[in-house]
Subunit: 295 residues, 3 copies
């Protein structure tokens, strides 16, 4: 079973993965994957996604081989698909990250073994969305009815569109907070509202007094023509300890990481900060994804 | 037992490896290598050789450590042999790829643990030749008496000389097809004819009507002084779907990969195209080689 | 348990690791570490330390994940501590090498899982010192009362200060031989003499007639303003086969490797040369260290 996009997946399958990840945390992974080999093919820099897939594989009794593009035949001019077709023979499943949109689906169509999308450009990063859902469910006990506030550059952030889709599917209310000009595309939001029964609020000022979950993502300075404006906006949207006084006591702060300067350092030590836990959730969720892909 | 060159190996040993690889495909690898550690030391880019050795090790219950020259003490000026002598203590067998001819034998002479040559410059690549023999045997049921046509730059291609040697040893007839000026060295062919009882035909036009196996290798544009001539020649020797009409119905097309533009893309989907299967054969053949080296 | 500096460790713990390493060589490692995962995070080039930790992990039934800084989120500007906090969730213990002094302790303070210092700049390299002690004990049967001569640039060499500390702790007599201007810091030696009951002799000429163990380290040409003087000094301090005639018959020569031109090549084949064995000792000693860190 390939894992290319959240939108390909049935709600039941997503719930199945989230539930199974919880079981793995509570009772261990069992032996379902023992002896299998995972190939990690990352054509782009990554710490979290690659290492947590490798860690997930090892913790489930699998092994991995790691393809390093700089050390490969790509230099000799081999096509992406030839590389994928070759590696198919070396492993039982392949995780692909590639800067070009559509690469993972292209790979999945070319081979029989399961392909998992580890991020294809600005397009999809479904395993991150599954980790986000699991992190919300695990910390708050539910997803339905929560106010989940997404804050940052919602126009460009890879995972935010998929997350809105998934939150709609699970019935959370979504508040979108972004600097003017970095809003999520209105046509996309229109589609979401037609498809799912959930509330979407849109704001251009940093605001999260009503949030149950505050999901922060980056605002890249390069998006602004004027460096002065860039600094003004990133400063204004940075989460500071002082700002949290108005927030709910049991607020959960998430971030896909790496974080640069979106969150003041002192917040790391607060109980609301759950982003490292979220990163660590990558292991059991990806163990559940590997089981799903290889079943 | 070191594996440095096909010419070092007795025919019985080569047959043993090919037969054992077939058993591994049919019945699994068993536990002969369980708990051993392989070191892969690649001083040159490689996808297939390194990953398939690592995959072979894992599928036989071994583990691997991977030496990345860019991250190593070589930068500090350590000699190749000091590196090899150090790594000897970390693993049970070492696969070495190095751009300099003779490196693998040099390494094997310096240490007691088995060294496997993963390609030393333009010299030897014995594990590729073993995969080629296995791929022919597995797809055609035999090697003896087949017409194996080698097509491409036979002057520079690393593996072609060893393959002619091995085909002579196993009694295939060989047709050599290369652009003028890129022929295999006549003195080498004379030696082959004196040593083995087999037919060698030489052609300078793309021709494979009588071939049972068509083994294609690259023609590097850099070999030609005149870019226009380079393009003319590579175009002329490219294998196209249309050209295959005159070929035998059960032709088997092999290629050591990576391929660039030697074979028209649409051929990939034809049943005659067996080069990805050949790449995948790297795993069981290298499992058999690891067993041979470590027995 | 973190392993950051030899000076943090009780003598009993050091003895425990050395004894356990001997047991591992003699009787195998057992299953204490089976199923655990080690993360190797090397922000600097290394062959020996990284590969021998990975080999140690595999030989003890552990697995490893390997963090490659060039392929990571560090490029995106992530802080060192955020990286460490993230990787904490992927592994049971972390080995860190980093060019900045104090990095390993900084990492250890930030997370709960054990951190092992794989070398932090010119500061500490405790696992090398443990290998040195084990290599002396294993080859000579004891440490107490031996004359251990350290030769080379004792001002800058990373491991020499820790080694003097450890030799003092175990009651060896130490002779320090270094070119003028590259002596070990007098204040440090004063502290050592006050702390431990052992003899320290200081020489500026190459001399090792009384040595039981000759521990050679590099003299980097870059330390000299005048290239002519650099060559004169490195030539003078190079160990040559002819010079060994005046040495003890059962002299043991050690070197942390990589060696460049401190030791004449022909010495490698002599029975006194034990530096490759010393490198190989990295595996059992690091197995014992992993057991200590994870117990």
């Amino acid at each position: 079973m390939d894992v290319i996009s959240i939108r390909d997946m049935a709600k039941g399958d997503i719930e199945g993965i989230i539930d199974r990840a919880g079981q793995i945390v509570d009772k261990g992974p069992g032996n379902a994957l023992k002896g299998k080999v995972l190939a990690t093919l990352f054509f782009e820099a990554s710490t979290r996604t690659k290492l947590s897939f490798q860690s997930a594989a090892l913790h489930s009794g699998m092994e991995y081989i790691d393809f390093l593009p700089e050390m490969s035949s790509l230099k000799k001019g081999e096509s992406f698909i030839d590389t994928i077709r070759t590696v198919e023979g070396y492993a039982d499943a392949i995780v692909v990250r590639h800067p070009k949109e559509g690469s993972a689906r292209f790979a999945a169509d070319a081979i029989k073994k399961p392909v998992i999308n580890g991020g294809d450009g600005a397009n999809q990063h479904p395993t991150q969305t599954l980790i986000d859902l699991f992190s919300i469910k695990r910390s708050k006990g539910r997803i339905k009815g929560l106010n989940v506030t997404l804050l940052g550059d919602l126009k460009h952030a890879r995972t935010m569109r998929s997350l809105v889709y998934a939150l709609g599917m699970f019935g959370a209310d979504v508040t979108l907070v972004s600097p003017k000009g970095l809003d999520m595309e209105p046509a996309y939001l229109k589609e979401m509202k037609e498809r799912f029964d959930f509330k979407i609020s849109i704001k251009n000022e940093p605001e999260y007094a009503t949030a149950d979950v505050l999901y922060v993502c980056r605002i890249q300075q390069e998006r602004f023509a004027d460096p002065y404006e860039a600094k003004m906006v990133t400063d204004k949207f940075m989460i500071r300890k002082a700002d949290l006084k108005g927030a709910k006591e049991d607020l959960v702060i998430l971030h896909p990481l790496p974080k640069i300067n979106e969150i003041e350092g002192s917040i790391d030590e607060m109980k609301q900060a759950r982003y490292f836990e979220q990163a660590h959730n990558g292991v059991p969720v990806r163990q559940a994804i590997l089981e799903y892909a290889l079943r």
